[in-house]
Symmetry: C2
């Protein structure tokens, strides 16, 4: 029987690390997870990861050949293959290349989650066959991955794609980055909760969310309320889409993407977020770009997204070095 070529895709999260073996067609052959336990040294983590990945591989019935390893992680430096001062992880600096070299001889590549998501969509999802597109991840923050000419844009220092930190209002909401009015303080899971508070302040309409302490309001609660006709919750999605769409119109004039793909928690709200975003983007677009740029949901199956993205990172490199 011929060997099945697979890559290992790893997504390092604050609580759990998911990983899986993925073939060139984007099929997740097998998948598992371990707790990240970032209070322990990174070397302990990579040892546990290797053991768990080997055990998973041993359990696969097909005869697999490991071609490479792709890793998605917060604050990843793609060029240096290092993780630097990651939020939610107590590691200060991790030389991922050196850690992995102790266990593997295959190529290893590292990038942040938003770039991995973009590559996942390009190889296996909604951006299949596209050479120019942008992926926006609407999670706790707003991440982005830009692809032009079929290549990920890493930029001079590998930190390109921080659209979440373009400015909506220089006197606006405080951002975790220390500045004010960044896009991600409006358009993200936490952003929509802040918008909900703004609406409860500015307007007098009744809302079921008025009975919930502000620090207990989640984007899921706002979504549920909107689904059930809560006027302010619906307006919160409208405002989020309007703000996001206006700023996406500015991203379009930079790279002229064929599509912008919205993924992550808030994107799961579907029309509630897609419709106002699309409408606002079209309103704000320079005329030569109007009615050209698609706004699409992820083309990846829910759940495997992070593993597929990380695996796509290394498949993309293997594909390009073949020639």
């Amino acid at each position: 029987m011929a060997q099945l070529e697979v890559t290992l895709g790893v997504d390092i999260g604050g609580t759990n690390t998911v990983f899986g073996y993925v073939d060139r067609s984007g099929r997740v052959v097998s998948e598992s997870s371990i707790p990240t336990q970032a209070h322990e040294p990174a070397s302990v983590f990579f040892k546990r990861l290797h053991a768990a990945a080997e055990a998973l591989l041993a359990g696969i019935k097909e005869d697999c050949r490991l071609m490479g390893i792709g890793i998605g992680a917060p604050n990843a430096n793609h060029f240096k293959c290092t993780i630097e001062s990651p939020p939610n992880l107590s590691w200060v600096f991790v030389d991922v290349a050196a850690e992995m070299k102790q266990y593997y001889t295959v190529p290893v590549s590292l990038t942040n989650d938003a770039n991995a998501a973009a590559l996942g969509e390009m190889l296996f999802g909604a951006a299949k066959g596209m050479r120019d597109f942008i992926v926006i991840t609407l999670g706790t923050g707003l991440g982005s991955g830009l692809v032009a000419n079929g290549e990920m844009i890493y930029g001079a220092d590998s930190f390109a794609g921080e659209i979440g930190h373009t400015t909506v209002d220089p006197n606006g909401r405080a951002c975790g980055c220390g500045r004010k009015g960044c896009l991600e303080t409006y358009a993200s899971a936490t952003g929509i909760c802040r918008t909900m508070l703004e609406l409860m302040c500015d307007r007098m309409d009744a809302s079921r969310l008025r009975s919930i302490p502000p620090d207990k309001i989640t984007s899921h609660l706002v979504f549920d309320a909107a689904q059930q006709g809560d006027v302010l919750a619906i307006e919160a999605f409208e405002m989020t889409g309007r703000t996001l769409g206006a700023k996406l119109a500015e991203s379009v004039v930079h790279t002229s993407p064929e599509a912008i793909i919205l993924v992550g928690g808030l994107a799961a709200a579907g029309d509630l977020i897609f419709k106002p975003t699309k409408r606002s983007m079209e309103e704000h677009l320079l005329n030569i770009f109007r009615n050209k740029v698609k706004i699409l949901p992820s083309g990846l199956k829910e759940g495997n997204t992070a593993v597929l993205g990380a695996s796509a990172l290394i498949w993309d490199i293997l594909d390009k070095t073949k020639h």
Copy 2:
């Protein structure tokens, strides 16, 4: 004697078309110009261009071999090699590839002036050896050319790089594009004249420009006044730089360039425009990008810029297809 490989670089302007033969090192071997006379059909123009370019070639003492032709023009569609509804030219649609094929068998490529300027800087100027940078042309409007991974970003429809139409203020100055508050209404040769008017309205300081009719104020007059200590003219440069720098900070988070190169008429003002632009960009940058992005003047000799840019367009293609 060995043949000298040259390309023909052509820059089609509203009044004049300049063209010249350029070798691979960026030396302009010979250069000339003809009036564009766009009131005549485009076919007449290309016939005249061919005759003039042949005459110029015949006058060169070295034995030249023409490798290709690069053309910079307004509203150029790079992918289709067409010019569509160009401003300041009465041609509605020109199939440049078809026109040139009547006279030449070598490769022909077309793009807009800002992209040509970016390629000129990459091959022969300030961006030599850089793979990620942005060129901003500060002329009548604000044009831009973005390069990532060593490749020009044309985007899905070849119109990428319209940073002049990002929004400074949604309720701001009317823009030629039909919208309001676009960056180019503030940061360009015409933008600084409008800023001068705003300052003469808002402030009471004396200014020599108060005695000049608004439609006679040029960026050169503002520059001359600033040079001679005119308080409002100096402030006009400050405001222009502040606005430009703040928006460039938003471009940086998109593509993480190694440098941003300011070229064109207004960039000739030197420190008057570079200093406030750099200061404002740093103030507005996300921390991970601070003190990393250079703001540079053109590395091309004045005068040959447009010809070198157009020639770089085709040299870049010839270089890349060699492999």
